[in-house]
Amino acid sequence: MTMKRFLLASIIPLTLTGLVAIGWWLLNGVDMDVLNPSGDIALQQRRILFITLVLAAIVVIPVFAMLIGFAWRYRHTNKKARYDANWTDNKWLEIVWWGIPIAIIGFLAVLTWQTSHSLDPYRAIESDKETVEIQVVALQWKWLFIYPEEGIVTVNHIVVPEKTPLHFTLTADAPMSAFWVPSLGSQIYAMNGMTSQLNLIADHTGVFDGYNTNINGKGYSSMQFTVESKTNRNYESWIKRTKSSAGFNQDTYASLAKPSTEGVKTAYRLTDASIFDTIVGKYMHGMQENKEEMNVEAPMENHDMKSHDMHSMEGH
């Protein structure tokens, strides 16, 4: 083997070694929210991820092996290898490579059907603890969270009790946005004039990062928030503390809703319980004149709002 050939032949192994080294250096000690989750939903999703990867490997590994093996074995300089220019059909081989993917996808299809239901973001999480209700409003460019039962409002920050089901009802007063806490699992879009829902649970205490995943204007990158999971006792005392904060009413909302990226993590006491329905309702009929009637008709708006909920359209 000449020097030139040797150098050429070593390019691929050298490159692969280099890439693996870079990968090792990058991944060493890095904590990935999706792969190291803190909530049961995300944990189940990780399990599906691993099952899918193993199933895919059944096809991918032979493909890579054959790609390299065949290319080497049947190189045109290798006269020892059999050359069969007209061997272009083999029923049994074709049955094998239709059959194996069909079997794998068949298995995955069952898994998909089951998990689409069991991990449906709208599906309530079973627990003996009472679910915490949180209303979410995506704004330009901050997140508004309303705890209707506790009478609390927060911005860019949620505090939740650990091991307790959380039920989010989401809307937007901004272009289409999306709510995602990778440590807890599952994201969902938040859209004007309608609501979507999401059920999550935190398995232990901690602080988790949340993101907007759908571009909604200039301040999109700033729409990060945090989820702080506390023990039940600490959560209760946080509620008590927050109850003495400044009040949050339509006026506070109006100034908060102005486009800006200065979403300071603040908390308020909710003084106007109809605020979420008003936000959803303001897009319902679209006519500016109706705006003043909205508050009066809040219960009816609420009814209308449900009919605009995509999920209920499908008879859930």
Partner: protein, 654 residues
């Protein structure tokens, strides 16, 4: 004096004022001026006008498509480099080199340009060059429409680039979801540039789809039944069906969005009875078939390349056809997988998820068939074949992450994160880009009469492959870490090394693109030594290799009669000498400028609508319509090459 009737909503504030766009706005016209100057200096205007701009020769139109696509590839790569330069540094208190508005326009332009003006352009270019030759046709079914398609494509491309100089581009992502792309949140001209750039190019694509569909059905050489067609022709046939079904959806959707914006209508607004979710459904009902429109011809190309360089007929031809047709059907029932997270019910999500996975079956079968075409072959590892190897490796990885995204319960965890970005680059670079570059290398001799330099092609493939891994593997990891797409700024310092490696990856891919350009320049320089005198440099299998390189204007002196699947290969194997059939007169379409004029009219109309210059919108529309009517009344559209001239030509050569 109020001049708004004349200038619409134009004003000086729309001139670029940010360094990056300013540089582009000065640089691009300078480049264009340089090109104009060079053409004038070398006195090439007449040649350019008569031989190229007015040409109705599919091969020349194809070459022009490929030229534009290559230019736009460089523009798209420059955009990508800007994006990664930003994300490599803009963490915490540090700000990147670009402001938010520029960054958002750049990623929108990157996606739009790469899909519409690189991938679509290269696809139509290759189809124009190779398809008529492969099916033994002298031309396409509608040569003049072919010219209209191409020039509409060029005008669309120019609109998206002109926006850089005046007015700015869309900042709402490559598919521009309302309400963000609606009047309320985005009143400026950027979104309108995006709409009309796509609208015009899209109509061009639709016309091309019809054109090649009819070409394949009506212009095949005698004896070439559908099941004797080269597999590339099959892939194009299936693609054109997708184009004809999908592109009208794009046209209608963009038209409605434009009505929302210019006439204050309410198709996709949040209020007034509109529904943005309808837009999301419609745009993906086009958008998903679109990715198959791009990748299916690439599948056809790989099939031709692997059979040629393994010197063995394609394994399982019938299965390959069945797989193509299956993919065609399924690609229309998967669009909802782009928005599992929009809140549809579990049954709907599960249905679309399973349909998506089902596509993996015929796609997997195709990969096995390619591998078994190599099995017991005599493989020449040419540059085209190296691109094929890179394709199988990369595309298979992309398939795995595609299946992950297809499971709705999993998609909820990775949707719109950088994992998704890595996935679609994985399949589009691995499938489409590698395929089209492989095809460019493969068919180059047929276009120009000389081969491309093999070594530089392999160097380019090496850089693209390594660059791809460096640029996108970190993005998969970043997706798992919570990094979402389209971030101009982030807070987590742990992400920085990943973004830096991804940035290095873009540089390496850029080196691949430079190697590709160098390969072309070097090969032009060395065209004497790389010359293809036989017309069949690869010992090919299909009819395009039976004619000289570059292919003559009329493609075939006499139309071949087809008896076998790989007709040319069979012809060479059987070694029978058939009596040369008698030469007959050949009728070819005359060059005409009306294709360009129609496109210019459409471009003026679009520019008028973008800037609310209604007189210009009207004028442009009138120009386009009158030119079309003018053309339909012209009966003298062909010229004749007589048999005597053909004989003379043959005599002179031999």
């Amino acid at each position: 004096m109020d001049l708004s009737w004349l200038f619409g909503r134009m004003s000086l504030e729309y001139l670029p004022h940010e360094p990056a766009t300013l540089a582009a706005a000065i640089g691009m016209p300078l480049l264009a001026l340089g090109a104009v100057g060079a053409i004038t200096y070398f006195k090439k205007w007449r040649w350019l006008w008569k031989e190229w701009i007015c040409s109705l020769d599919a091969k020349k139109i194809g070459i022009m498509y490929l030229f534009v696509a290559l230019l736009m590839l460089l523009r798209g790569l420059a955009d990508a480099a800007m994006l990664r330069a930003q994300t490599a540094v803009s963490v915490g208190d540090a700000s990147g080199p670009f402001d938010v508005d520029t960054f958002q326009q750049v990623f929108t332009a990157h996606g739009t340009i790469m899909i519409f003006f690189v991938a679509m352009g290269a696809m139509f270019g290759l189809i124009n060059v190779a398809l008529p030759l492969m099916i033994g046709a002298r031309d396409v079914a509608f040569p003049w429409l072919n010219s209209v398609s191409f020039w509409l494509f060029v005008v669309g491309m120019m609109l998206s680039n002109v926006s850089l100089i005046f007015g700015g581009f869309s900042n709402a992502g490559w598919l521009g979801y309302p309400p963000l792309s609606g009047l309320e949140y985005n009143p400026g001209p950027g979104i309108d540039y995006w709409i009309w750039s796509l609208q015009i190019a899209g109509i061009g694509s639709l016309i091309s789809g019809i054109n090649f569909f009819v070409t394949i059905l009506k212009k095949r050489a005698p004896g070439m039944t559908l099941m004797k067609m080269p597999i590339f022709a099959w892939s194009v046939l299936v693609t054109t069906v997708l184009i004809m079904l999908a592109f009208p959806i794009l046209t209608a959707t963009l038209a409605m969005l434009s009505l929302d914006r210019t006439m204050d209508m309410h198709f996709f607004t949040s209020d007034g009875g509109g529904n943005p979710m309808m837009y999301v459904n419609l745009i993906w009902a086009w958008g998903h078939p679109e990715v198959y429109i791009l990748v299916l011809p690439a599948f056809g190309i790989y099939s031709e390349i692997v059979a040629t360089f393994a010197r063995k007929a394609l394994f399982g031809y019938k299965t390959m056809v069945a797989a193509l047709v299956a993919i065609m059907f399924f690609s229309f029932v998967v669009w909802q997988h782009h928005f599992f997270t929009m809140g549809a019910g579990a049954n709907v999500n599960a249905f679309f998820g399973i349909m998506t996975m089902v596509i993996a079956i015929p796609t997997g079968v195709k990969i096995f068939n390619w591998l078994f075409t190599m099995y017991r072959g005599r493989i020449k590892m040419t540059a085209s074949m190296v691109w094929f190897m890179c394709f199988v490796f990369t595309f298979t990885l992309g398939g795995v992450t595609g299946v992950i995204l297809a499971v709705p319960a999993l998609d909820f965890q990775v949707h719109n994160s950088l994992f998704l970005v890595a996935h679609f680059h994985n399949v589009i670079i691995g499938g489409v880009v590698f395929g089209y570059i492989a095809a460019l290398t493969y068919w180059w001799p047929k276009m120009f009469g000389f081969r491309l330099h093999e070594g530089l092609g392999k160097v380019s493939a090496y850089f693209w492959q390594v660059g791809f891994l460096l640029a996108f593997m970190p993005l998969y990891a970043l997706g798992f870490m919570g990094a979402v797409r389209r971030l101009d700024h982030y807070t987590d310092p742990e992400w920085v090394p990943f973004f830096i490696v991804a940035g290095i990856g873009v540089v390496v891919i850029g080196m691949g693109a430079v190697a590709l350009v160098l390969q072309i320049i070097y090969s032009i320089w060395k065209r004497k030594t790389l010359v293809d005198t036989t017309g069949d440099p690869w010992d090919g299998r299909t009819l395009e290799w039976s004619v000289p390189s570059p292919a003559p204007e009329y493609n075939f002196k006499t139309i071949p009669v087809v008896t076998h699947r790989d007709e040319w290969w069979h012809h060479k194997q059987s070694k029978t000498t058939q009596a040369e059939p008698a030469l007959e007169d050949i009728h070819l379409p005359k060059p005409t400028s009306i294709g360009v004029i129609v496109a210019v009219g459409a471009g003026l109309a679009a520019f008028g609508i973008i800037w609310h210059m209604w007189w210009l919108a009207g004028l442009g529309t009138v120009i386009a319509i009158v030119s079309i009517i003018w053309r339909t009344m012209n009966d003298d559209t062909e010229f004749t090459i007589t048999a005597a001239e053909l004989r003379h030509e043959t005599g002179a050569k031999s």
